[in-house]
Chain length 272, copies 2
Amino acid sequence: MAKKRSVRDALRLPASGTLLDPDARPVGPGSKAAAARDLAATGERLAALQEALFAEGARSVLLVLQGMDTSGKGGTIKHVCGLVNPQGLRIASFKKPTPAERRHHFLWRVRRALPGPGLVGVFDRSHYEDVLVARVNSLVPRRVWAGRYAEINEFEAELTAAGTTLVKCFLHISAEEQAERLVARLKNPAKHWKYNPADLDARARWSDYQAAYADALTRCSTPDAPWYVVPADRKWYRNWAVGHLLLETLKDLDPQPPAATFDVKAELARLT
Amino acid sequence: MAKKRSVRDALRLPASGTLLDPDARPVGPGSKAAAARDLAATGERLAALQEALFAEGARSVLLVLQGMDTSGKGGTIKHVCGLVNPQGLRIASFKKPTPAERRHHFLWRVRRALPGPGLVGVFDRSHYEDVLVARVNSLVPRRVWAGRYAEINEFEAELTAAGTTLVKCFLHISAEEQAERLVARLKNPAKHWKYNPADLDARARWSDYQAAYADALTRCSTPDAPWYVVPADRKWYRNWAVGHLLLETLKDLDPQPPAATFDVKAELARLT
């Protein structure tokens, strides 16, 4: 029997830089119901591996979520990261930098939010904003943002060397799907708090953002820290895919709880 | 029909300071199966209320978990806090203070770990360690720890005034149940990483710890920030109880997503 194609192989950005379509399904279940069943089982395996990573207490995983507004960064955290023990997660959201953050190097706030040993870090947006919105809105001169791709690659190589495995996911939605989701938000008063008129400004620069994403993904996809393109027009496929990218990553790490450093029999004797 | 007794009323430390038994069940389901069914439904209500608290973005809840080793602080986080969106949680574990932490006031590290507006904070151990282990092991002179009860009450009054509702839970287990859980840990190599021979040193001072807990609970149970005694010899009852303490607290807060500050129709027109 042929070896099943891994989700990482199917979704990894190819050398050509060509992106999968937002509604592609190159691997995985064919229906929402099948994906939901699979995700529940995946959750149990993820939770067990995360507990082993925590017990081992040596290495870490960093899930980076990027994507246009409504692409489902928050939904992925809720539905995928919500499957594991929250104590083993370190979630950081990178919003518009504060004045204090702007006075520092762009990686300063990112370094402060890295997961410690044993943890799964989750970045809701990330240092990539500094080559996305910063570029599209000319927040810094071209020579500054243009130099950041190399800085990011160096930074990520340093993280990898220190024992952090990066899982970088571009949640790829179409402009049409975004419009539908924004309209749905506007039509539901309970979701108004999630809506910001500035979202439409970013939407108005759609092709500039797509170009900025294409460059960021291509220039910063390295063998140790590749980008995965997650088709995100279907929420259930997005969740399934990110769950499996994490699962495959954790299985490869094969974390092992450390052996006892005490005399088990002697401790049992103290107790009984 | 008589109003059902709230879980908070049933578990709140009485003025007398008398603790419930570790296997008491003064309120709630009578069986593990009934509790499991209930907890799943509770999880959905908790998740919805937490989302509203997050959307409102003004107030916060702080769940403080204290208890002897193996009392289930970690298990409560996994099974109860694991029911809600991890993005709305801020979990902090207070281990033995680092040298840097020891150079500061005992509340320094606690203040740095408080939940921001909209979040549910969870303390796995807390500032109460500074009147528990610090007292039992004479880590500081008596006059120092004795003064901390008043400091804690002032600190918590300040938090309450700033919009944080505290839910302080003493996970109360018996010495016999602790022995069983420690033996189970020792007999399972996969759980050895959770075992520390120093746990037995604390166990050897069981009655000193119970006295220190009794004082901490009595002196720091205030109308706005009462202590709840959660019988914890049964894990399912402990999870059920903490879930409902949180649920009742969030229901009382009745968080409301803020109204739109933009013109909904105009935004819809921009999109369609």
